[in-house]
């Protein structure tokens, strides 16, 4: 059991960038953004294509981030300029990205077994496979949490947060909420694509279907993190989301160990998220009953 812990935590860290991206849209902007399901495999595809062509892993990840950011901008434009509801705008981009991802990879699945990934670099420096994944996970997670924390302490970051809470209020302060929404979606999907780029490299392949269910995984991480580790402040929320991603991976590892068929994973996650989203309702009912007694 214990020898599974390090790889499980490492996976949680690599996925935490997806969770942070989902947190930025779902919690900060108050938008359920399904672009994620396309920008995650997009990140993996762009990074894989770059690596296969002999690019270095750093370039691959930067390109993945740019591609993901662009996908977010598209959704943002559809939503703000064309007034398409955010949910639908995300779905449109997601569907379009399916074709884009096939084009980027040239086929449905791109193997990375014979190319140098970010993890091979660390292995060449003497780390074993588990340690190299953990190292990449922990360094990138810490870097991104710090960067996000800094950014949301700036004027632009504060304007984006305010947009999520009360667009009318921040417009009355002279901020163009179209810009803040587009920018928030850009950041979110860049993070998601980076997560995809890392996961693709750690799995050893990029696959056009690897985005299915990622929004639910992101939501599960955000909600588990919030429930277990709190939302006292923005900093607290960011750390909760990362820990939520790790806990989610541990939960999954445990139920698999207990014999749940892997095919049922998505069903399990969906039920988990549905229950977690309904939690406030249950709590209200319980509180009411308490008051009534």
């Amino acid at each position: 059991m214990f020898d599974l812990l390090l790889p499980t935590v490492s996976q949680g860290l690599l996925w935490s960038m997806l969770a942070l991206g989902v947190f930025l849209t779902f919690r900060v902007l108050d938008i359920a953004d399904l672009t994620v399901e396309g920008s995650f495999p997009l990140g993996a595809a762009v990074a894989a294509a770059c690596l296969v062509k002999g690019g270095n892993p750093f370039t691959a990840i930067v390109l993945a981030a740019i591609a993901g950011g662009l996908a977010g901008v598209i959704t943002g434009l559809l939503h703000t300029k064309l007034k398409i509801p955010a949910l639908l705008a995300g779905i449109l981009t997601m569907i379009a990205l399916y074709s884009v991802n096939l084009r980027v990879m040239g086929k449905a699945n791109l193997s990375l077994l014979r190319v140098d990934t970010v993890f091979t670099y660390l292995r060449n420096m003497g780390l074993d496979n588990n340690m190299s994944i953990f190292t990449v996970g922990i360094i990138s997670t810490v870097l991104f949490v710090l960067a996000i924390y800094w950014f949301f302490g700036t004027e632009i970051g504060a304007a984006i947060r305010a947009t999520g809470f009360n667009p009318q209020m921040i417009r009355a302060q002279g901020v163009d909420t179209n810009h803040t929404i587009i920018f928030g979606l850009l950041l979110s999907n860049a993070l998601v694509a980076i997560s995809g780029a890392f996961i693709g490299q750690s799995n050893g392949f990029a696959d056009v279907g690897m985005g299915v269910g990622t929004i639910v995984i992101g939501l599960a991480s955000v909600i588990i993190g919030e429930v277990l580790f709190g939302t006292r402040s923005f900093k607290n929320s960011l750390i909760s989301v990362v820990l939520g991603s790790v806990v989610y991976r541990i939960v999954i590892a445990v139920v698999l160990q207990m014999g749940m068929p892997p095919n049922d994973l998505k069903l399990f996650t969906a039920v988990l998220v549905a229950l977690a989203l309904a939690l406030p309702l249950f709590q209200n009912k319980i509180n009411k009953r308490k008051v009534a007694e």
């Binding site: 632009i156 504060a158 209020m169 417009r171 302060q173 002279g174 901020v175």
Partner: protein
């Protein structure tokens, strides 16, 4: 200062729900004017304020502030001239952000946000002083989320945010209507205090006739998308509530119908 020239606005044009909310509206405000606005349900009072603030585009006419035609400008572009407080205490602040974060956003009203810190240490002392002026004890709660405040506290905070860097025009849309009478009185006095201190040009909608008479140097009454009564100065000072009702009936040809209006 503010000129509204022949402004019209129809909601849902061409449909069965078509509603002409402003009908060739004209108003000229002088610098320092404090105008109270009353009128029946659906007379177009809120629509007038929303048109000035740019919440939606107007169909015809011009809105001019200090000689500049702002009719075509987006809502966020007009914000640098205009401070606003809404009827709903939830609308003026970001509930999930701290009091000081809200104040810092308001302190930058009309400026394009940059990558500078959203709030500087040096500002906090100023904010604390301003909050102390509200006399609600908020100066010791600057890092509380605004969502924790009562409606009256939120309205007072919104008022402070709307006025802290002296807008050319202050728009108040029944900003005390959602508060209990005692709190409403407090927020109204605060309003008067701030408006006088900064000599703010102010448009205040109210459904309370007494407040409309008590506050401001000028009073307008609206009916069917137009201003039908406009009194100021000494003439306004001398008005009583029966005078007002009579004036309204004479100008509009019908009695004032507003189910929320308070006569006394």
């Amino acid at each position: 200062m503010l000129r509204i020239e022949h402004v019209s606005k129809t909601f849902f044009p061409g449909s069965v729900n078509e509603k002409r909310a402003l009908n060739d509206l004209n108003l000229q405000m002088n610098p320092g004017d404090f105008i109270t606005v009353i009128g029946g349900n659906g007379a177009g009072k809120s629509t007038m304020l929303n048109s000035i603030a740019g919440v939606f585009p107007i169909d015809a006419g011009k809105i001019i502030i200090d000689g500049e035609d702002i009719s075509k400008k987006a809502e966020h572009q007009r914000a640098k001239y205009i401070g606003r407080v809404f009827q709903d205490p939830m609308l003026g602040t970001a509930a999930g952000m701290m009091i000081e974060e809200n104040l810092a956003l308001a302190a930058r009203r009309g400026k394009t946000p940059t990558l500078a810190w959203a709030i500087k240490d040096s500002e906090r002392d100023d904010f604390r002083e301003m909050l102390r002026g509200l006399d609600l004890g908020l100066e010791s709660r600057m890092t509380n989320r605004v969502g924790l405040l009562s409606g009256g506290q939120r309205q007072a905070l919104t008022l402070l945010m709307a006025t802290m860097n002296q807008p050319k025009l202050l728009l108040l849309d029944e900003h005390t209507a959602a508060l209990d009478p005692k709190t409403a009185e407090k927020v109204l006095n605060l309003t008067l205090d701030i408006v006088q201190r900064h000599h703010l040009t102010t448009l205040m909608i109210t459904h309370n006739m007494r407040d409309a008479l008590r506050f401001g140097n000028r009073l307008v009454m609206m009916n069917a998308g137009r201003i039908v009564v406009d009194v100021e100065g000494e003439e306004k000072e001398k008005l009583t509530i029966p005078d007002l009702l009579a004036l309204f009936e004479k100008a509009s040809g019908s009695a004032l119908d507003n189910d929320r209006i308070l006569l006394g």
